[in-house]
């Protein structure tokens, strides 16, 4: 079987488990709602324009929510002690890595589908040209999922990983957050053009580098 086919099978399995239990996804969605609320309490004062907080709140909420689900990404394999078995039966770690990154991408996309309208609604913002924002969200989510999965996979056998995961993940994905916030704020102000394209290109380069490097690094780090 090819790597792609194995990845697809593993992805299907994980998504089926997630759809049946709904625990992780449910709590991540709940957490992201709370996160937006807390940001509203923290930032909004009466009389000030709420729109300028939208990019920051959106991207930081997505980052926090993604680290929530990342911590449970390898939980089933870890509790059953089946990580070595999965990589043994799928001829290497690449299908495992790609399928987990796919699961994370599906989760964060669902979270985004909830958070984006919610932030726009709560912070009284209007998105007239959603194209660049959606492109930046797609690129950002792919990059965050890949880097996040790499970090979560590397930290599986490390104590205090709940603490270490943000410590490693947040500096690494800083370019995505900066670029995403920039693109979103430019779109909200109705600007578009060269600036937007540059930031999207940066995100694309980030994604390409980590999509190419992460499976290899993961395989190297996990070999016995």
């Amino acid at each position: 079987m090819t790597t792609l086919r194995l990845t697809w099978l593993l992805l299907q399995k994980d998504l089926r488990i997630a759809a049946r239990s709904r625990e992780v996804l449910g709590f991540t969605l709940l957490f992201s709602v709370l996160c937006v609320l807390i940001f509203a309490f923290g930032f909004l004062q009466s009389g000030s324009a709420a729109v300028r907080y939208v990019p920051g709140v959106l991207w930081v909420t997505l980052l926090f929510a993604s680290s929530m689900s990342l911590l449970r990404l390898f939980a089933a394999e870890e509790e059953g002690g089946t990580l070595p078995l999965v990589s043994a039966t799928t001829a290497g770690t690449v299908p495992l890595f790609l399928s987990k990154a796919g699961v994370q991408l599906v989760f964060t996309t669902l979270v985004t589908a909830l958070v984006l309208p919610m932030v726009l609604l709560f912070f009284d913002a209007r998105l007239d040209a959603p194209g660049p924002v959606i492109a930046s969200l797609l690129l950002g989510l792919v990059g965050q999922s890949v880097v996040g999965t790499l970090c979560a996979a590397l930290l599986v056998h490390v104590r205090l990983r709940e603490v270490l995961l943000p410590l490693v993940l947040y500096p690494t994905v800083a370019p995505l957050v900066i670029a995403g916030v920039k693109v979103t704020s430019m779109a909200l102000q109705g600007q578009s053009g060269q600036g937007t394209t540059d930031w999207l290109t940066l995100m694309l380069v980030f994604d390409l580098v980590f999509v190419a490097a992460s499976p290899w690094l993961h395989g190297r780090a996990m070999q016995r």
């Binding site: 930290l155 205090l160 410590l167 490693v168 500096p171 900066i178 940066l202 690094l217 780090a221």
Partner: protein
């Protein structure tokens, strides 16, 4: 004492004379740089005496860049072709790199308070240095927290390698984000010859000293490895003796 007591275990450890000489040289260079900065260099026309932080600030940044790059390079080598020496070198470079990053992050604000009017600003190089330092600290912490040393080693190496492209992209991103850092060396260099001497003395001193710190830590890690394997050998020997 009975006749059966084991012979005292003596393992020859070479005295690191070269290392000690290097440390002495590094300290002498740093001392010379300090003396030169204090007595020979003129105070800056605009910034006054605070400008003198510059010499050690930029030299520390050099050392930080060199050691962290070396840490990523040796980690990559260790991942491709596992080698205990590469691993020890990567660890020592990373630790020394963090020490000098802290020097950069403390000496920078001292200068910035006078020059920019505030201790900290969200400026590209500052942001990059802070983020990369945090990443390096996380990698060091991770090595200590791994359940078994071998997996910790591979995971730490993978993280260090991941940090390299990430640092580059962070650099690009924060640069576009907005910038105000003085570009002394790229933009024309230092004009006063006294200042130039002070600067290169500081660079030479800190690089020598940092190299010695890396070697000392490397030696320390290698000796720890050796002590561990000797202890294993000893217990294996005792087991065999007990069985006979």
């Amino acid at each position: 004492m009975t006749a059966h007591s084991p012979a005292p275990l003596q393992v020859p450890v070479k005295q690191p004379w070269l290392l000690l000489a290097g440390i002495a040289l590094g300290l002498a260079l740093i001392e010379a740089a300090l003396w030169w900065i204090a007595t020979k260099t003129p105070p800056d026309i605009i910034l006054g005496v605070v400008q003198k932080v510059f010499y050690f600030h930029v030299a520390s940044a050099f050392v930080m860049l060199l050691t962290l790059t070396a840490a990523a390079g040796t980690s990559l080598y260790d991942l491709i072709r596992p080698d205990d020496r590469a691993d020890a070198l990567a660890r020592s470079c990373l630790e020394v790199g963090v020490v000098f990053a802290l020097c950069v992050l403390t000496s920078g604000p001292l200068w910035a308070r006078k020059s920019w009017g505030m201790y900290w600003t969200w400026e590209p190089r500052l942001t990059l240095t802070l983020l990369v330092t945090l990443l390096a600290v996380a990698v060091i912490a991770l090595r200590g927290l791994a359940e078994d040393p071998q997996s910790g080693r591979r995971v730490g190496a993978a993280m260090a390698v991941m940090g390299a492209p990430a640092s580059f992209l962070i650099h690009v991103a924060v640069k576009w984000w907005g910038g105000a850092h003085p570009q002394v060396l790229q933009g024309g260099g230092i004009r006063s010859s006294e200042m130039r001497v002070a600067f290169w003395l500081a660079v030479a001193g800190l690089i020598t000293f940092a190299a010695c710190m890396v070697v000392a830590r490397f030696r320390d890690l290698r000796l720890q490895d050796r002590a561990r394997s000797l202890r294993l050998n000893l217990s294996a020997l005792e087991l065999r003796r007990g069985r006979a």
